[in-house]
């Protein structure tokens, strides 16, 4: 093999190059396997904040030191982490949630939602969240309520927070 090709492929110090490559591979496995979960959004339920086909990452360490907060966009697992719901947290454990003509009310008070552009006349009777439950919903409230997946999610299903 010509010297130039060898240098391009393995560097001037092949042993150091191998160590660098190893560190890079291990870092990538740890980061993308356990910390940042790659997510491709499908569907329109989070529009206009996130659009169909967008790529993002779910930070799995985001809730290691704190609990999900109102306004966080979270990844919710189904049977496992291969398919996730991406929704915004609007209700925290113990709170009462109600939707009246498209207006979300938390403990009877209207919630200010700057990320929601248009609101259809959705109605949801008041419900009280359990000690381990969060109320999650998408930002696209212009769509039909029937076609929009939202509701209560238990804490163990929330596996991370969207990075961007």
């Amino acid at each position: 093999m010509p010297r130039l090709v060898k240098t391009i492929l393995f560097g001037s110090n092949p042993r150091l190059t191998a160590i660098r490559a190893g560190v890079l591979v291990v870092t990538a496995i740890v980061v993308f396997g356990y910390v940042l979960l790659p997510v491709r959004l499908t569907g329109i339920s989070m529009e206009p904040t996130y659009t169909d086909g967008e790529l993002n990452f779910a930070n799995r360490l985001a809730f290691s030191w704190r609990e999900p907060a109102r306004g966080d966009v979270v990844a919710i697992r189904m049977a496992g982490p291969s398919v996730l719901y991406i929704k915004r947290v609007i209700g925290l454990p113990g709170e009462q949630i109600e939707i009246e003509m498209g207006v979300v009310k938390v403990n009877g008070e209207a919630l200010l939602e700057p990320t929601v552009v248009r609101k259809a006349a959705w109605n949801l009777p008041a419900l009280t969240l359990g000690p381990d439950e969060y109320f999650v919903i998408g930002d696209n409230r212009a769509m039909s309520m029937r076609n929009h997946d939202f509701g209560r999610a238990t804490r163990d299903r929330i596996i991370g927070k969207l990075l961007f």
Partner: protein
């Protein structure tokens, strides 16, 4: 020394071959996963399924995956299908969208309840094309399936969806 080394290597190789052979052919969890994978493939509607024979052959294959008295709960309404014949009738009535659809079971977790019964918890993922826009579409539901070993094959006895996001 060299001879001993060869013996050790042979033993390790034999153990590895035995382990992987067991996992592949005899481990019931593996057999169930394989069966569920085949079921998903049978439930998928290929875009090129144009002939009636293809369709009937696919429906006939479905019989192998369900017990005659299978109980299937569908959707939030709790409507149910109570036999294999009714299920095959329902599947036969599905109208394939242009481009077909693809069913896969992901994150499959198997629990052996006894030597002849098992439960599988998984996400059923259905990908296809939006009939109006032509854009790729995805629907996913959590499903709990119970299986039983009948005539040396694992068949589905019950299937019910689990609501990920609970709504009143």
């Amino acid at each position: 020394m060299r001879k001993n080394g060869s013996v050790y290597v042979s033993i390790v190789l034999a153990v590895l071959v035995g382990y992987f052979s067991y996992q592949w052919w005899f481990n019931p969890r593996r057999a169930i996963k394989r069966q569920l994978g085949e079921l998903a493939a049978t439930l998928s509607l290929p875009p090129e399924e144009v002939s009636e024979i293809d369709r009937l052959a696919r429906l006939a294959r479905l019989r192998h995956y369900f017990s005659p008295d299978v109980q299937i709960t569908t959707g939030r309404s709790g409507a149910s299908i109570n036999s294999r014949d009714a299920l095959i009738g329902a599947v036969a009535a599905w109208k394939a969208p242009a481009g077909g659809w693809n069913v896969t079971f992901v994150d499959v977790q198997i629990r052996m309840d006894s030597e002849t019964t098992a439960s599988a918890y998984m996400t059923a993922e259905i990908t296809g094309q939006d009939p109006r826009t032509g854009a790729p579409s995805l629907d996913a539901r959590e499903v709990t399936v119970r299986l039983a070993k009948q005539d040396d094959a694992w068949v589905v006895t019950t299937a019910e969806p689990t609501e990920t996001l609970q709504r009143p």
